[in-house]
């Protein structure tokens, strides 16, 4: 029988993989993708808690998280495109200018 612990552990595994991606990757695009993994992990635990706790609030929070993530990705990718035009690279550790 699948309990709440299974879902929480799965979400923890997903979150850890996302953290590894955020720290180890050099390209800004991959960092953004790993951030999506982090959001997906938290969404999974919200839905699991909602189902096992008998409360719809978790699912509503997931709905809002999806909306905010869509806005975040749109702005983030716009910045990535601008960065590529200006520096012709998207490697995060080659950005040393504080101002352009």
């Amino acid at each position: 029988m699948i309990g709440l612990g299974h879902y929480i552990l799965l979400s923890g595994i997903l979150f850890s993989i996302g953290v590894v991606g955020v720290i180890t990757s050099r390209s800004v695009l991959k960092i953004l993708l790993s951030l999506e993994l982090l959001l997906a992990a938290s969404n999974l635990s919200f839905v699991a808690f909602s189902k096992f706790n008998g409360d719809y609030t978790g699912q509503l929070i997931v709905f809002f998280v999806i909306l905010v993530a869509a806005a975040e990705v749109a702005i983030g990718l716009a910045i990535v495109v601008l960065m590529f035009r200006h520096f012709s690279t998207i490697q995060a550790d080659e950005l040393k200018d504080m101002k352009w």
Binding site: H6, L33, L37, K51, N53, F64, A71, A74
Partner: protein
Amino acid sequence: MSSFFFYIFAIILVLASLAVVLARNPLYNVLSLVVVIFALSSLFMILEAFFVGIILSLVYAGAVLVFFLFVVMCLNLSTPTLTTVQQNRFQLLGWLAGLMLLAEFFLATKAFLAAQAMQPVSEIRGTIEAIGKILFADYLLPFELTSLLLLIAIFGIVSLAKGALKTQ
């Protein structure tokens, strides 16, 4: 039966999310995130969160990841200079941090005895009707505020694009 499907989708989820982090080609990273989103959406279906699962696959796989793919192809990132193996200073640190976090999650889940006793509540079925009733009654203000947030995001993107056009 549902536990069988849980394990199937959990394995797909973990493997695909590892591919998001480990694959060298940025195109494969984005496409594995599509697989992650579909597996997650299936898990939501098992948890009977139908509306959120559909919204997740529509918004993420349909809009956000297409946007990612568009940017990857627009920037032409599969040139060899960008995808070659480059040693990152933080490689070891990142894996250590991830493993420590994983161990911490494992221990916390083990110690969380209240969670193991909890049973799924069968009345909770996240249909459009159930979610809509709460969304438009108790959470109306946050819902309206997200529309403001999306408007501000549009303004931000347009001003970024206009600034880029001016400097050229």
